[in-house]
Symmetry: C2
Subunit: 335 residues, 2 copies
């Protein structure tokens, strides 16, 4: 576990998408975030107090989270300098870039001297296992999508919260950098060796007998030519009895692939059920989550209703309208 | 490229399956194999001259191939000693285990001293790329399967040979350890980071404009819960216009998964076409390869005929009956 509370790094970022990991923490773990660290030239903010390293430590911060994504996932010089300053001030440092904190010699030796820790959340599991698909006890829900970045993490977190509010045991199981930092644990499934994708998810959401739910964060899409292998292994490993599909109705092209249209929502849902049956014969769809942030509330409501009528599955925008209708469906259809 | 000719290692192996890589080389590159190296207590043989290290060098061998698989893919002490002896005698050493030759300090320094090379064929590509699925020119055929180890490599090699005999340009594209050693190049797709599976195959079989064929070796099965992610990414990356499905009619359980039945051949074929359409809209099945080694010739013929009638696709056992009927179908149905 990465010691909280956190100081969230936005540094010199100028692109709102680049700070999505820091933003995710600010949104989903607000009590654990004492402030944000940004340089004078940074136009972005998370709406948290702006703190220097020493101020953050004085405010209780135990870890600086480098919650940014930059092209290539590399450590630029100024990032290393800021991480050094955090270590000098007495904070651990966490990051989820492709490059590793511990491979930066200055940081590694400084952390040793200071008896502080470096957390590389994109590390692969040390002892990967090959998945088996053998049926295992426990309730599991997986969020899937028509594309990358369609709100699968948000939906999984919202469902976990809503289920807990109803008194159910429910745990979010993270599979990406931001989710892992929010949950404090998880598997970066895109960084796992190909042979171990489903096995990594079987480890992440193992057999469970308390009647509670593992809500597994999905990745990619069965219809994304770059990442469908990851999505397939994730679906087989999760062995979910329920899936929720996430979709952005305003998107025209698959993420990163100009000219490739998104799949039809109904077709994509059907294919997820079809592929999922291999390890979860009774798999069923319990919800559709749409991103309606570009619409007015009336149009958004109407789209959710039309989608629900067309597919016969409860539909919502989790940010605008919550996920109660999906939890209702989940609890009424699952034995 | 790994310098031929080879001395094939079987060492102290007692299990015929454990030496399948050495056997693959002996079968498919007989001219490049000068002999086999085995210890006195080894009951197996490839039918090649038994040579010591120095004898092999005298016979022209340039590389010792550690063509064995052992549980865990680790280097046992006696394997390291034999590899040292090969280096002392003046041979390069190649291996495809999970552990790396170059991580064995004694071997690494000895190779440096001797100015010889160590080849770890299971190494991931150094510069992995994310696949795009963008249409690329060139004819590609992929072998797929109902399970692991159903003859996908053999079928791909047999098809490549048969196409060449008809005067076509055709290249086998290897995706596994044995195939890579046979071809001298390839991508160990099971060792690629999950995000890069389809990209690795796009690199392996890039755009081609000479009218010739890339015959891509498949791995696993869309219906194998352990490895379907690999098979999915491979199928999307290969972007094949033609697939050949390989099946072992005598197998009751999926490999390594006691109690899990194999999928129906027709259903598995349909699912491969279905998933494959994402990047290859006109994908079609051109053949079925059965392993009939446990049957008499009459029953084998009859099974091929029945299967062909049932699925409407040419069926053969490539070892017993060759693959001419599949090449006929390929050339008559592909524009």
């Amino acid at each position: 576990m990465i010691p909280a509370p956190y100081l969230l790094y936005i540094g010199r970022s100028v692109d709102a998408v680049a700070i999505k990991t820091s933003r995710g923490l600010a949104t989903f773990r607000p009590k654990d975030c004492v402030g944000e660290f940004r340089h004078d030239n940074c136009p972005l903010t998370l709406g948290l107090p702006r703190l220097g390293m020493a101020e953050a430590v004085a405010a209780g911060a135990r870890t600086l989270v480098l919650g940014i994504a930059n092209p290539g996932g590399t450590f630029e010089q100024h990032l290393i300098e800021d991480a050094e300053a955090a270590l000098h001030a007495g904070m651990n440092v966490a990051a989820g870039l492709h490059q590793r904190l511990r491979d930066q010699q200055r940081l590694a030796s400084l952390a040793r001297e200071q008896k502080l820790q470096l957390f590389d959340v994109r590390d692969r599991p040390a002892d990967p296992v090959v998945g088996t698909g053998y049926p295992r006890p426990g309730h599991r829900l997986l969020t899937v999508g028509t594309d990358c970045s369609t709100g699968k993490m948000y939906a999984a977190l919202a469902l976990t919260s809503a289920m807990r509010e109803r008194g159910l045991a429910a745990d979010f199981r993270a599979t990406g950098q931001t989710g892992i930092l929010i949950a404090g644990a998880g598997v970066p499934v895109d960084a796992v060796i190909a042979d171990f994708i489903s096995g990594a998810i079987e480890q992440l959401a193992p057999a469970r007998s308390d009647g509670g739910w593992d809500v597994v964060e999905g990745q990619g899409s069965l219809f994304h030519p770059s990442f469908a292998g990851v999505s397939t292994g994730l679906l087989h490993g999760a062995q979910p009895e329920a899936i929720v599909i996430c979709h952005d109705p305003d998107r025209t092209d698959m993420r990163g692939l100009r000219g490739r249209a998104l799949p039809d929502l109904a077709e994509c849902l059907e294919q997820n059920l079809n592929v999922g049956r291999l390890t979860s014969p009774n798999i069923r769809a319990v919800g559709i989550c749409l991103n309606t942030s570009q619409m007015d509330a009336v149009s958004a409501r109407r789209l959710c209703e039309r989608t629900e009528d067309r597919l016969g599955v409860p539909c919502t925008d989790p940010i605008a309208f919550g996920v109660e209708n999906i939890v209702d469906e989940l609890l009424c259809t699952v034995p």
